[in-house]
């Protein structure tokens, strides 16, 4: 496993040095508001949000369901157009989805009719890489996620955790500058989720891709992120930007350290206050 990570790191570096500078994956969000619906039904999902994410940073968007965190992520992915404001990735305005921004969804986003190998190789194939190169990229990533044995299986034959590993590998096979993850482990059981978090961090350290990770799980956010951004519910806005003081590489037992607990409490208090506010608004 470790040797793969090292070889991947070289692989990723080779890719990058040739094309652009190492500082890829910068995200600038400027006064972004996103409204859904029109006329009377119009409601804001994201309000006047400004945010900077540095290249290689691991940022978690944390908040209760319906707070607009997925909408904000989707605006970075290019699925949602901001009603006002701009989203820049590496200085370029996002105008639609593209292979420079890999996307990992909550579940069932693998192509059920493609084998695991073909799912992972889909990005390189679309990019016009030859059969041999596509295959070699797919094999590299299959080894990385430890699913070489399952290369010729179909997604439905894999467990939820395995499917998500494939989903991450598929997004990374394009060597994107940004990896956008929308509650990728939300549907997994607790044990699997912990393992997935650790393996995600190992992968991330090899790729040094910028990661924006949406979750409503406080532990997950604190364990994974460099920065935790807490979003408030309706209309969505970032109410706190907390730096995670934990060392890297992170280990599972850090979850019991005082720093971890303290930050977790801070997050929980903020979210609780927000939830109460939302609750009161609804009952007024």
């Amino acid at each position: 496993m470790n040797t793969h990570v090292v070889s991947l790191r070289e692989h990723a570096r080779d890719r990058r040095s040739g094309t652009r500078n190492a500082g890829r994956g910068q995200i600038e969000i400027r006064n972004v508001s996103i409204h859904f619906g029109r006329g009377h039904d119009a409601h804001p999902a994201v309000m006047e949000t400004t945010l900077d994410i540095a290249p290689g940073e691991f940022v978690c968007l944390l908040g209760p369901s319906g707070c607009g965190k997925s909408t904000l992520l989707n605006s970075m992915a290019g699925y949602v157009k901001p009603s006002s404001g701009t989203v820049l990735v590496d200085g370029e305005a996002v105008s639609g989805p593209g292979p420079d921004r890999g996307m990992v969804f909550q579940q069932y986003s693998l192509f059920p009719w493609k084998t695991i190998r073909d799912n992972i190789g889909f990005g390189p194939k679309l990019a016009g890489r030859g059969y041999a190169e596509t295959d070699s990229v797919a094999n590299t990533f299959l080894e990385m996620i430890g699913l070489t044995k399952f290369a010729d299986k179909y997604p439905a034959e894999l467990s939820g955790g395995m499917q998500q590993r494939v989903g991450i590998a598929r997004a990374l096979a394009n060597y994107p500058s940004v990896l956008l993850m929308d509650e990728p482990f939300g549907a997994l059981d607790a044990q699997t989720r912990l393992m997935m978090q650790e393996s995600l961090l190992a992968t991330w350290s090899a790729f040094s891709t910028t990661v924006v990770f949406v979750t409503h799980d406080v532990d997950e956010a604190v364990f994974l992120a460099d920065r935790v951004l807490i979003m408030s519910a309706g209309p969505g806005a970032i109410i706190a930007d907390l730096r995670v003081p934990l060392d890297r590489p992170r280990a599972a037992d850090m979850a019991t350290t005082p720093q971890f607990m303290q930050l977790k409490k801070q997050c929980l208090d903020l979210i609780r206050a927000e939830s109460l506010k939302a609750f009161e608004q609804q009952n007024r």
Binding site: P97, P112, F122, K149, A156, S159
Partner: protein, 308 residues
């Protein structure tokens, strides 16, 4: 064990519209050792054996049921049963069998079959091409949908027989009017199933493909079409059945060859056993061609059967 799962899936091909529904919500624990790699051939033998074992009892029951029917038919015709339904002029099964054997040795019989098959093939292939294209267009474009839907709604309930007079007036030859009627029968189920299938494409897969860099055409080819395929396959199978249905209507009233003509002609010539021969041949050919359609679609739906 795995062969059982295969067999039960096998019973309901193509009817499932969305492969995702068959997925257990991420809790199935796959066993990497259960199915060693490179043993697909072995799997198939096992699969076949499983199917046979599972189906042996069903086949026995079905055969027994057919036998009961035959015996009833024989007794009813033999005793000239007349209780509201009159069996007096119904040919008994043995005479039908005799007539069938005679026809098997008659080259003209095969011409009838070949002509019918040719009409089916022409009409059906045209319906498949046009139906899939129309269905996809309707699903992807609001304008196309609003434009085509009224035609489908109005034309679909019109039975093939009702088309015959107008078809004869419209088309230059009898042959083309029969093919037209056949085509029309297959068209609607194919269009509607394609439409349904394309509409059911999970949005998350389209998004995933976009973020992987797929163009519109690539999304269509790699995502929308395969996602719609189970539903299209169901439409193709239904369309084949309906196209036989329609062909017969066309052949009974016009044409000089074809198994429908053969059947109707037997009635005109008071050759009652041949009526039943014609009917049975129609039934057999209809079943066979529907089965052929399903078989032809199977390689494209392998991913569905592999889902546990």
């Amino acid at each position: 064990m795995s062969s059982q799962a295969h067999a039960s899936k096998h019973d309901e091909p193509a009817a499932v519209s969305d492969g995702h529904e068959s997925k257990a919500p991420g809790c199935a624990t796959p066993s990497p050792n259960a199915v060693p790699q490179g043993s697909r051939r072995l799997d198939f033998a096992e699969f076949l054996r499983g199917v046979l074992a599972r189906h042996a009892a069903n086949v026995a029951i079905s055969l027994a049921a057919l036998l009961v029917g035959l015996v009833f038919w024989h007794v009813a015709t033999h005793t000239k049963l007349n209780v509201y339904i009159n069996f007096e002029n119904v040919p008994p099964p043995l005479r039908v069998g005799e007539a069938f054997m005679v026809h098997l040795a008659d080259p003209e019989f095969y011409i009838h079959i070949a002509v019918s098959m040719r009409r089916i093939l022409t009409g059906y292939l045209l319906a498949t091409a046009l139906g899939v294209i129309t269905g996809v267009l309707m699903a992807r474009s609001r304008v196309a949908r609003a434009f085509v839907y009224p035609y489908i709604e109005i034309l679909r309930p019109i039975p093939a027989v009702a088309w015959i007079p107008l078809a004869i007036l419209m088309w230059p030859s009898e042959e083309s009017s029969i093919v037209y009627i056949t085509f029309l029968g297959a068209l609607f189920p194919i269009v509607l199933n394609t439409l349904h299938g394309v509409e059911q494409t999970p949005e998350v897969l389209v998004r995933a493909a976009k973020s992987l860099g797929a163009s519109r055409l690539q999304i269509f080819w790699h995502v929308i079409l395969p996602a719609a395929l189970p539903s299209i396959a169901a439409g193709l199978a239904i369309g084949m059945g309906v196209s036989w249905f329609s062909l017969l209507a066309g052949e009974i009233i016009s044409g000089q060859y074809g198994i429908g003509y053969f059947t109707w002609n037997a009635y005109s010539l008071i050759n009652y056993p041949d009526i039943v021969v014609g009917m049975l041949v129609i039934g057999g050919l209809g079943t066979l061609s529907t089965y052929a359609v399903k078989l032809a679609m199977q390689p494209f739906l392998a991913w569905q059967r592999r889902a546990r």
